[in-house]
Symmetry: C2
Subunit: 332 residues, 2 copies
DNA sequence: TCAGAGAGTGTAAGCGGTTACATAATAGCT
DNA sequence: AGCTATTATGTAACCGCTTACACTCTCTGA
């Protein structure tokens, strides 16, 4: 790999001038610029971005820490973050935190030690306190799907309580009087809030929450199957089930059919997240759409604003999910 | 951020000694090591990996270039690459190439300029020649889902012709005599090879290939719908359809139902890739599984072998897809 | 007792750039 | 032409770390 030194020698100018040409800063006489470009071309030179980063204490790269690299949810988010930043000439360093405190911390430190200009964090295990403290450092951080007091302007958040509320409400409005709920792990704050919304909707319609119609799943398809199985066997009658994500809803479909029940005639089902495959299911799954593409986009824009002072695009911080009703639900 | 210099001053030793402690190389007297560790702790010091990388010309990071960040396929692959490498203390820099030559090249150069110790490339637009040339450079590269002559030992490849062959064959073995095919874009080599396998299976069973039963889709659900629509309207009778991926199969499900046909009674459908949601569909979608998890794993191991001389795990280079028959197909 | 070996540590020259500051070249004006 | 204000370029000190090499101490064994 050629270095800037070789370029400067070939072009007959100083290191500084080459650097100026590379970075397009300061004025360089057109003729000189040409000589340098020519030399760069001849040597097939690419600046070493590590060296640039060390010297300039900037890296043009944004660290992104998400729970997992797979899954329909994160992929979309990542994809939008990347394309927006790439269009702005920045690039992303992606790491997975696996919802594990040690790993999240380790990844975070690595991203920092790599001179990331900013960080987009979608983390579960790190505490509010830790994040708040981090946000006081010199590297701008943006939080995804989280709202931490004291740094609201850096949070792209989603109102999970509202999501749980509208999911349940949309079924109640169809006349359902008894609903089951398949939730995610209770310790996850997202799960917890959705449940709260569920209860609020029930209360609003004058219905009692029945603990026996609540199943705690894992967000995986298998637990949707299992949950539906247990709910049906409980003997408590219900005409609809609200699932805390689409995978579990897919599992619920499976069990429902196995019991000879028709969707939506005998059982209305609604999911959450509205991932791509919700529309592939038959009947098409109703779901709560979380605007993950938009959230990704806004995280990217926030970074452009806070880390690079590019303040030309509107930024939405707080998102409210909305319901997509499809063939999986019906009047009772 | 504290620097190595401050640590050395606080510990009362030289920079070199601190560096030795950090990297665990050479012998350092236990007492000295303690002093250094103590100082590091006190200053809450983390080595600046950019500087480490520049000085050592190594980065402990592997560049990964894939077509897209979203989609069920790439997510799984990425996920496996990342976890294997992470277990080995390495980390990944991920970029998306968007199947566009300019972007792929640009991303590649960025990864190189970031001192990546090795590269895992899943690219479509770069030519064999370019890749072969690249592989002669000093940075080890591993190719995913591609076989380039002259660098076979660096290729993790998948036999797409065979995949197309077994997909079709599995339907023919069930007694089908007339099959339609919904393919991906013909210019993509993967699509092309699968079609070739399809034709080979037909020939083997003494069946003529009928161009009118071939639809060129885009690998997206919508084109599966559209393709099935056109195929059904063509008037040529067929009892099964082979789809070049699962998304299009999902689309085909949709259209098939709309026409009042039952799956698998009236129409057998098989997909390709065997992504997660194939099992969520009803009836469960038969598919060709590509072992993408394994391919990701092997790519990671190859990197460990070629870039870090870790040669302890077996590496499989060539993969053959296999058929997963589920409820979406039946005897005719 | 002393040379030689080995262990432990320090010195200083990079790695490939950026950038404040100094200096040289040119342009603009009287 | 002469002087100043700009503009263009060069010089050299970093950025934070690694590492070849030199050096200083023990510790052996003859």
């Amino acid at each position: 790999m050629a270095t800037i030194y070789e370029v400067s020698k070939l072009a007959g100018v100083s290191l500084a001038t080459v650097s100026r040409v590379i970075n397009n800063i300061d004025k360089v006489k057109p003729a000189t610029r040409q000589k340098v470009l020519r030399a760069m071309e001849d040597l097939n030179y690419t600046p070493n971005s590590i060296a640039q980063s060390l010297a300039s204490r900037r890296s043009n790269s944004i660290g992104v820490l998400i729970p997992e690299l797979h899954g329909p949810f994160f992929g979309i988010m990542l994809s939008h973050i990347e394309s927006e930043l790439r269009d702005a000439g920045k690039h992303v360093m992606i790491m997975a935190g696996h919802s594990d405190e040690a790993k999240e911390k380790e990844s975070l430190e690595l991203l920092l030690s790599r001179n990331c200009d900013a960080l987009i964090l979608h983390v579960y295990s790190l505490t509010d306190e830790y994040l708040l403290n981090l946000s006081k450092g010199s590297v701008p951080i943006v939080l995804l799907n989280r709202l931490v007091a004291g740094m609201e302007d850096r949070c792209i958040s989603l109102d999970n309580e509202h999501g749980g509320y509208i999911a349940t409400k949309s079924l109640l409005e169809l006349g359902h009087k008894s609903l089951a709920y398949i939730s995610g792990p209770h310790w996850k704050v997202d799960s917890f809030k959705r449940i709260r919304g569920h209860k609020r909707a029930l209360a609003e319609f004058g219905l009692e929450f029945d603990q026996r119609l609540m199943f705690e799943g894992t967000f995986e398809e298998e637990s949707g199957k299992l949950g539906m199985e247990q709910l049906l066997q409980s003997g408590i009658p219900f005409t609809g089930v609200v699932c805390a994500n689409d995978e579990m809803a897919a599992g619920a479909y499976n069990t429902t059919r196995k019991h000879g029940l028709k969707i939506p005639d005998d059982m209305s089902i609604i999911g959450y997240d509205d991932v791509a495959f919700a529309r592939y299911l038959y009947p098409k799954l109703s779901s709560v759409t979380c605007h993950i593409d938009q959230m990704g986009l806004m995280a990217a824009r926030s970074v452009l604003k806070y880390a690079y002072e590019k303040d030309n695009a509107a930024i939405q911080k707080a998102f409210k999910p909305s319901v997509m009703l499809r063939a999986s639900v019906d009047k009772v």
